[in-house]
């Protein structure tokens, strides 16, 4: 959209067909998955209608069209991420598979007994459990980086944990549960100074402001299409070519081999070495369309809008009793996590659902974070570009009614 057209969340909302089917829906579960704009739905459909074939091997024109669409998507995604080369973009099923790929391929090849993997206590289980499995298999040790009282990463503890035994540091760009934004730049620099690699879980961060991979300075970056206005079933693992070259295959099958014989098989170069079997072709095309769609807007304006909604929401909460915003004064993305005195978040969410407000409750796959905060669970409202001030005001009204009903 040209910059001289003023921003309008209502106009963005019109680009999302789901709201034509659910006109009254107030969708604040965006951190779980976002809705999809017409541009993404059209791109996937157009691919199936005009270029559908299997890729890379077909000796026919439709196969070339499909390969061009898929590799074109890789190139555009690499450009949106400011990756140095398209071959650094590996297609996966999502963040979870991306982190598993890094853990199992790099981890099993390079970790030795006694090596340490440092993970922040903010992490989603997807950036914890794969490392635990690899640690079990290799004799490496997983250590948590503790939190401060306000639910941010304890920087002093982090620095004191950094030793040459640390081989990898895993950090989220934005906590999916509380929205907390760790100070990535100094943390990555400190980790690199002891020779550790850094895995950034970008599942949430990429949707709010995006990422510049060459500026970030991390070694691995993982994200999912479906949290970024794109399709389910596709995500990305990014790593530099030098690092990928030193990584063995993880999954095996077609597409990833150079030559197969029963005497021995040689593997293709990255990225194909890591993309066994038929990849999510139409979904990759849809993901590229989602990133193109986002790039058509001013990302800073979108982020400012989302943060303004979060602030409007939290300002309105002050009128209501017995609600606490988690990590309230920490730097956060457009996510509000709430705890209630004497009320169960599940009950609040059930009433909100009755009023057409979709939120999420539970531990949001962040068990260690909730344990550190001393909570069984929380209620999360997460904002996206198509949410409006009217959504926020209606949610506040629904919350006030809910508290009366549960009083």
């Amino acid at each position: 959209m040209p910059m001289n057209v003023p921003f309008s969340a209502a106009r963005i909302r019109d680009e999302f067909p789901v709201f034509r089917h659910h006109p009254d829906l107030i969708y604040l579960d965006n951190a779980a998955t976002t809705q999809k704009p017409l541009a993404v739905l059209d791109a996937e459909r157009r691919f199936y209608e005009t270029a559908n074939a299997n890729i890379h091997r077909a000796a026919h024109r439709l196969g070339s069209a499909a390969t061009d669409a898929f590799e074109g998507a890789r190139t555009r995604i690499a450009a949106h991420l400011n990756a140095a080369h398209p071959d650094e973009v590996l297609f996966t099923r999502g963040t979870t598979e991306a982190i598993n790929l890094a853990a199992h391929s790099w981890g099993r090849a390079h970790l030795r007994p006694g090596d340490v993997i440092l993970l922040s206590t903010l992490e989603h289980h997807a950036n914890i459990v794969p490392w635990q499995l690899v640690a079990q298999a290799t004799g490496a040790i997983v250590k948590p980086i503790p939190l401060d009282a306000d639910g941010t990463i304890d920087q002093r503890a982090f620095l004191s944990l950094l030793t040459p035994a640390i081989r990898l540091v895993g950090l989220t760009q934005c906590s999916n549960a509380t929205g907390v934004l760790p100070p990535l730049a100094p943390m990555i620099a400190a980790a690199k100074a002891v020779g550790a690699l850094v895995m950034i879980d970008g599942a949430q961060g990429i949707a709010h402001g995006g990422v510049d991979l060459q500026a970030l300075g991390a070694d691995f970056y993982a994200f999912s299409g479906h949290k970024l206005y794109g399709p389910t079933g596709v995500g990305v693992l990014w790593a530099r070519r030098e690092l990928l070259a030193k990584m063995p295959p993880w999954q095996a099958g077609g597409e990833m081999i150079d030559r197969v014989s029963f005497d021995g098989t040689t593997f293709a170069e990255p990225p194909f070495r890591f993309e066994a079997g038929t990849p999510p072709i139409a979904q990759a095309v849809g993901l590229a369309a989602a990133m193109d769609w986002l790039a058509g807007h001013d990302r800073d304006t979108l982020l400012r809008h989302e943060l303004a909604l979060r602030e409007r929401f939290e300002a309105g909460l002050v009128q209501l009793d017995c609600i606490r915003v988690l990590s309230a004064s920490a730097p956060r993305g457009p996510i509000t996590a709430l705890a209630f005195d004497g009320l169960h978040p599940y009950d609040v969410a059930q009433f909100l659902d009755g009023y057409g407000v979709a939120v999420r409750v539970g531990q949001h796959c962040a068990g260690p974070l909730h344990q550190a905060l001393g909570l069984n669970g929380s209620l999360r409202a997460s904002f996206a570009a198509y949410n409006t001030e009217a959504d926020v005001d209606a949610t506040l009204a629904a919350l006030a009614t809910t508290l009366e009903q549960l009083a």
């Binding site: 169960h344 009755g354 069984n376 669970g377 009903q405």
Partner: protein, 149 residues
């Protein structure tokens, strides 16, 4: 009727039967009214004593925690339950109403999940990974199967 020892001395399944609850649920039109009724039922179900809120009796959904205690007396299944969520506790009151104080013969052919659907509460079954409801009805059915052997 409800001459059972604690924690089984609650009204659900004895003084309050399935028909009575079905009537109250049918009168509650719409989601909000149904939610309110579940909260009201939770109030009518006395809490389990802390001594029984143990891991042994715990049934965890991923969004809430519930405790289910099963016993038997003179061929009847006894059940008591509690939850940290009031809506889940209200759903447990429905579960107790269906099973508590009944004999396996009385329960033959009864389908709890179909009953919930007929009461317009299927959304709690589809989200039962969150509230643990299916897991609890399965535990009760297993207990019944065991003691009819």
């Amino acid at each position: 009727m409800s001459s059972y020892p604690p924690p089984f001395d609650h009204p659900f399944g004895t003084r309050i039967d399935r028909d009575a609850l079905a009537q109250r649920l049918e009168a509650a039109a719409g989601w909000e009214a149904k939610n309110r009724l579940l909260v009201q039922l939770a109030r009518e179900l006395p809490p389990l004593p802390d001594a029984l809120r143990t891991d042994e009796h715990r049934v965890a959904g991923c969004e809430s925690t519930a405790w289910l205690v099963i016993g038997r007396q003179e061929g009847r299944l006894l059940a008591a339950a509690d939850s940290d969520s009031r809506i889940v506790k209200g759903l447990l009151a429905l579960l107790l109403t269906a099973y508590h104080g009944h004999t396996p013969a009385e329960l033959a052919g009864f389908d709890f999940e179909a009953w919930l659907v007929s009461l317009g509460l299927q959304r709690f079954l589809t989200t039962s990974r969150g509230n643990g409801l299916r897991a609890m009805s399965r535990m009760i059915r297993e207990a019944i199967a065991e003691f009819s052997h």
